[in-house]
């Protein structure tokens, strides 16, 4: 799961996949804008076959939060 997330995230940040850690903070460490996070969630929708609801994204701060969210959605 982490590898897939890293691959998608590198579409938005100029980093090597291994530089993206579970505890990386999206805004502070990866400099992702709120709009980039939204667009990225659109990619996850397609990749994981889930439907993301905008209102559920307010608690997502870190890569780990994304992993937990996607796992919950797939369950």
């Amino acid at each position: 799961m982490l590898d897939k997330i890293r691959e998608i995230m590198t579409r938005y940040v100029e980093l090597d996949p291994e530089q993206i850690q579970e505890d990386s903070r999206l805004a502070e460490d990866l400099a992702l804008t709120s709009f980039a996070v939204m667009s990225m969630m659109g990619d996850f929708e397609e990749e994981f076959g889930i439907t993301v609801d905008e209102s559920e994204l307010t608690d997502i701060y870190t890569v780990k939060d994304i992993m937990d969210y996607l796992e919950k959605k797939q369950a």
């Binding site: 590198t10 805004a27 804008t33 709009f35």
Partner: protein
């Protein structure tokens, strides 16, 4: 459409229905299908809503709208406005307390809401006794829904609406931390929707992406597409923008710099991975082959970005405005693009002058005032009636150049205006903190604190904890992303006010 026949939004709806009754104006995704509403249906449905509103109380009704763009939302908004009632679109990202406060201060007695606000509405039924009716924004029939109103009410007769009547109250950030309700009249909005010539055609397909509670979206997406008989497609979520571009194949889009920047950054990452693919090809892959132009406003747009988009073959046209001006003050077009340094040419009927470096405006688009806030309204105008924009700049050959801001607002690249005081007030009650200042640094909201010396050792932990707590309670755009801790007081003016422009950035970055 002859613009001299347009005096009110009612005229705009009636004329567009007369010219193209059967053409689809609005389109949105509905499961696997695409739902549509024609110009003719819009007129009929808005008059049905107006008929229902007549039964909701005496006099002019103030109707709140809580949700994101949809066919139902736009129909309800125009249904409020067509016969002289007032629409109050609320920012759906606000906290429940702020939503209640905004509705209360605008004297809203009817609320249209998206399904996702159902839980909030349930709690409001007991806590907001001033709201008499709630309407679920869905075209499906069902008790308490917009669908039911459309089914059960015959269209009202057209009422006489004066151009000076208030059509909308839109909230904008106040510099004292409390948002203010900008009253825009029919004449204000019509003037702004007709302040440029030849800026659209019936062949245009617009994808509306920006929040509908913003004047920019209301005027330049909704009213302009009505004026030209263009098609307005609804982007249901920013999450699905790329997919919606592929689906609706827009020819025009209105975006804010944040979006333009983010999309560009993504394109550049792609380009680095595939250096042989030309920029134009990558651009077309992302934006579709039909997109001819992007209009950009709401915040500073760098000239480099304009040039980069040019390389992709997509003109990026800049404008300048504010909610109080409905919103456009200056605009650019493909025939008359900005040079990259200016923010566009002053629009028709608008006069601009510079006093003490500040841009002042007089135009038929300038608001009626702030709702029930005469003191704030007075403060916004000079004695001879010029609106003070708070922006510093100059005008040359009818083009506006912005150099800075007089007021204390932080303008983020997504066009959101944030009052630093609003965030500073949230630190109140932190016993460790002597002084706090919030400002923008490198485009990120930054909080800089001076702790009382006895808390120096624990200050960092306490500061981080407090910021985390605040960030959980505000919308994502308002989150504090940088922190600085200082060991000296902020520089003050003689009246002991923090010198905002000189004080920030001296603390240690955490």
């Amino acid at each position: 459409m002859k613009t001299n026949e347009l005096k009110t939004i009612q005229d705009l709806i009636v004329l567009s229905a007369r010219e193209r009754p059967d053409k689809a104006w609005l389109k949105e995704k509905a499961g696997k299908e695409i739902a549509e509403k024609t110009f003719g249906q819009l007129l009929e449905d808005t008059l049905r809503i107006s008929a229902w509103l007549q039964d909701q109380g005496d006099g002019v009704i103030h109707a709140g709208l809580l949700g994101t763009s949809s066919i139902a939302y736009i129909t309800a908004l125009l249904g409020c406005v067509i016969n002289g009632n007032v629409a109050v679109p609320i920012d759906p990202q606000l906290s429940p307390e702020e939503i209640r406060d905004n509705l209360n201060r605008a004297d809203v007695t009817v609320l249209f809401y998206d399904r996702r606000f159902q839980p909030l509405v349930e709690s409001m039924r007991s806590t907001c006794p001033w709201i008499k009716s709630y309407v679920l924004l869905t075209t499906e029939a069902g008790t308490g829904s917009l669908g039911e109103i459309l089914e059960k009410n015959a269209p009202a007769k057209k009422a006489s609406v004066g151009p000076r009547q208030c059509a909308c109250i839109l909230y904008t950030s106040g510099t004292t931390g409390k948002s203010k309700g900008v009253m825009l009249s029919h004449a204000n909005l019509i003037d702004n929707a007709t302040c440029c010539d030849n800026e659209g055609s019936e062949n245009d397909i617009l994808l509306t992406v920006l929040p509908i509670h913003h004047a920019y979206c209301l005027t330049c997406d909704v009213l302009l597409s009505l004026r030209y008989g263009a098609t307005l497609c609804i982007n249901d979520s920013l999450i699905r923008l790329t997919q919606n571009i592929q689906l609706f194949k827009p020819t025009k889009m209105l975006l804010v710099p944040l979006m333009v920047e983010t999309i560009y950054r993504r394109i550049m990452v792609e380009k680095k991975k595939n250096p042989l693919i030309p920029m134009k090809v990558i651009g077309r892959k992302v934006f579709g082959k039909d997109l001819g132009v992007i209009f950009c406003g709401g915040a500073y747009l760098s000239p480099e970005l304009t040039k980069a988009y040019e390389k992709m073959g997509i003109p990026l046209l800049q404008g300048y405005g504010m909610t109080e001006c409905s919103p456009r003050i200056a605009s650019s077009s493909q025939a008359d693009p900005s040079t990259g340094e200016d923010v566009g040419r002053v629009v028709k009927n608008c006069r601009v002058k510079i006093v003490d470096g500040e841009i002042l405006v007089k135009s038929p688009s300038v608001m009626l005032g702030y709702y029930k806030n005469e003191a704030a309204t007075r403060e916004m105008f000079t004695e001879d009636g010029w609106l003070k924009t708070g922006d510093l700049g100059y005008e040359k050959d009818q083009r506006i150049y912005i150099t800075g801001r007089r007021k204390n607002l932080i303008i983020l690249s997504n066009g959101e205006n944030i009052s630093p005081e609003e965030l500073e007030n949230r630190f109140a009650g932190s016993e460790w903190m002597a002084e706090i200042m919030v400002y923008s640094e490198n485009g990120q909201i930054t909080a800089e604190a001076y702790p009382f010396p006895e808390y120096a050792a624990k200050a960092e932990t306490l500061f981080r904890r407090k910021v985390e707590e605040i960030n959980k309670s505000v919308t994502p755009a308002k989150r504090i992303l940088r922190m600085r801790l200082r060991d000296t007081e902020f520089e003050k003016t003689t009246s002991r006010k923090v010198k905002r422009s000189q004080s920030g950035g001296k603390g240690r970055l955490l």
